[in-house]
Symmetry: C2
Subunit: 446 residues, 2 copies
């Protein structure tokens, strides 16, 4: 079960920079109305809440075929189409490509060097490609899809189509149209579900099954967390409480940077997944909070100095793991060296947890608010729970802020300018604008 | 050569949110005095400026022996001891472990799951371990060192010592003492050089040589960039100009978050390396700026929405690459699909650069200041240049802010509490304090 410990956000534990219980309770009504807004399901995008109930039969069948191919599984997608799958891969199958088959390559860019390397090492003849784009026309994904398709066609001729699985809208868009025309296999992202809330759709589940993770476990964890996170009582609902805490800290206390620091290498990508969710959902209309991707203990030697003594502009959200599954004892070597011999006899997980707790306390003593999300172990069940926990918390925070947590209008202008540069019909003027801007920039260059 | 384009930080290009030339020139004197402070070399930590002049003979010899071992190269270190080496690895040898030997594992945590996996796949009998800690007593590094040492001893008996290379202070500390007592091989981090400024010392150079990168090229690039970045004229010195721009934006305009977004997968880790440098050097005495690690085009689908329409609290620093070395053409497939067929005939690098330029302009039009650092290509020469460019810019910004860019006093408390928890002599009271704090936290938990 996911726990939330927010003692170090309270005055009692950190002094003046904390919240009082009264202050927090003052938001109960607004919190409940945000929850009711989500539960009321007025926006089609709230369909992400239904994902835990889906049937995974079709996904499992497709995954079986891919696993049997024994080459590589190449996932083409960007943003929500890549971050969720990658979070699953790194949490549940660390060092995957050095240990298991099929190898997995998640290509979420248009960097030619990366794709060239993937093409040269993936054993394409035996590989499958999963193209993920909800809209069906994401430029980055389309570009790599076209390259892979041509390359597969060169190698396999007419059989190439059978190596592609399109994950896209069930009805609309270019990719769906290609599926229809070419008889390509496909999986549907349910209508309403937007990219950053799609990890528990076929977007993340196909990859999970391909690497041997039972997608039903992800969904089971999500179902149970959903129940708790939709409870109409802030003081027993961890998602609602996290949302309220970060909302108050962000709007009333100037703490607009929210760090997510899991103490586990495997959850580093979960933190990056969260950062898209939080940034894109809340950052609009001049408001929003900046999420910061982190990992412990590593970032104690990178960011902690700033969190301890820099500006009072952050809330640190720890993600603590009770059981790492495996452990290693620190042996009795170099016993004459007092500076390090105290470690002997302890285990790595003891050290990991001691550092996590010590960092919480050090921050608290410096008047730096922090909150701890806890999970018993890193497995499919709890990962599924974390996904929906953070999704619900994000949507609720959007409602508290008065923004639409499901749109992203701000990225259109960049896309349109790119269309202009790439010669897409109807965007000729945009190219002229880029070229004019380029000329204007002349003087300020070293 | 590294270029700096700051047109989109100026009023002429972005309107009211930009700086005027007059405003910028008003800082010339302060900028020069910061540069003189660095050039004056009063602090021993400025020794990082001498690293480009070192002799790499010993490093090359050690690296040759490691390469011949043909097992794995395991690097143990955290913070500056890991981030620099990883930046070199990912920039200059992407997908290294799937393509080349020796495999490289950089272990910069105490996660037991990660280390267990490394132990099981590294072919330890033929491997070498590089232990990097300047102080010689970093708990995380010591813990993994002790485990690896015992394990190697079990496998190789007395020959185990020969598989370790200690990179540490030339005179002081536990690790240096172990080197003396056990006759272990070692490389010296020159006195004065602190972790986050150490990438161009043996910390980064040994790894470079092990993966087949000529460390002399890194140093040559650093030497030439150093010359330019120590020029006493802000308008021809890209490091000084970047420093002044971010300083003014941070202190006068409330833009306290600095995003570094390289448009290249291979430079994602460079961005993380920069984030430690910037955060730990500047975040103290209640001031400092928050660096944000990013990568393009990927984060256009994750963070751009927030940068475009969120709070006016950021400066976006693009890192543009002229030549990706390799390229791929987007072929003519699915020609009937207008939504994507416009891409045909272009190359991936064209798309990458169009997106970068479009994103710059979209931000500029939204009144969002941005700056572009440019390099001709990703190679050892330019990477070496980037390292010292950012190091000098960071030190200068520290002087402008009036903080010591070379210390990190804020991390001590957390370390001391951990010592208490782990039973280190002299820290008994700290354990009591952690336990007391744990009891106090009881009530605020869901």
């Amino acid at each position: 079960m996911i726990t939330l410990d927010f003692a170090n956000a309270m005055k009692e534990c950190i002094g003046e920079e904390g919240l009082s219980e009264e202050e927090l309770r003052g938001y109960s009504e607004r919190a409940l109305s945000a929850l009711k807004e989500l539960a009321g399901r007025r926006q089609p995008e709230t369909a992400f809440l239904d994902l835990p109930d889906q049937d995974t039969g079709g996904i499992k069948e497709t995954a079986r075929r891919i696993r049997d191919g024994s080459g590589a599984f190449i996932l083409l997608g960007i943003g929500g189409s890549a971050l969720g799958p990658r979070a699953i891969l790194e949490a549940l199958s660390p060092f995957h490509n050095l240990r298991k088959r099929p190898r997995v390559f998640i290509y979420d860019n248009v960097d030619p060097s990366t794709l060239s390397t993937i093409l040269s090492i993936a054993e394409l003849e035996r590989s499958f490609v999963n193209v993920i784009t909800k809209s069906g026309s994401t430029a980055e994904t389309a570009a790599s899809f076209m390259i892979l398709y041509k390359e597969m066609e060169r190698l396999l001729g007419r059989d190439a189509t059978g190596r592609f699985i399109a994950t896209t809208d069930p009805e609309k868009g270019n990719l769906r149209e290609i599926v229809r025309r070419h008889g390509m296999e496909s999986l549907a992202i349910p209508p309403g579900v937007v990219g950053r809330y799609s990890v528990l759709s076929p977007v993340g589940l196909l990859l999970a099954e391909v690497i041997g993770v039972d997608s039903d476990e992800l969904l089971r964890g999500a179902r149970e967390a959903r129940q708790r996170c939709m409870t109409e009582e802030p003081w027993t609902n961890p998602a609602l409480m996290l949302s309220v805490l970060l909302y108050i800290m962000g709007t009333e206390k100037g703490r607009t940077i929210d760090v997510l620091i899991p103490y586990a290498d495997g959850l580093r990508r979960l933190s990056e997944w969260f950062c898209q969710l939080w940034a894109e959902s809340l950052g609009k209309l001049g408001t929003g909070f900046t999420p910061y991707p982190s990992v412990g203990t590593t970032d104690q030697h990178s960011q902690l100095q700033l969190w301890m003594e820099g500006p009072q502009d952050k809330v640190i959200v720890f993600l603590r793991v009770d059981d790492y599954g495996r452990d290693l004892e620190i042996p009795r070597v170099f016993t004459e060296m007092e500076g390090i011999s105290y470690l002997s006899g302890h285990t790595l997980s003891e050290l990991m947890k001691a550092e996590e707790e010590s960092t919480e306390l050090a921050l608290a003593r410096a008047g730096r608010p922090n909150i701890t999300v806890g999970i018993p172990a890193i497995d499919a069940y709890h990962l599924g729970g974390l996904f929906i926990f953070f999704e619900i918390a994000t949507a609720l925070t959007g409602f508290l802020l008065g923004v639409d947590p499901f749109n992203q209008p701000g990225v259109e202008e960049g896309k349109n300018l790119t269309y202009g540069m790439m010669g897409k019909a109807g965007f000729e003027q945009k190219r002229v604008e880029v070229e004019a801007a380029r000329r204007r920039k002349g003087g300020w260059r070293i």
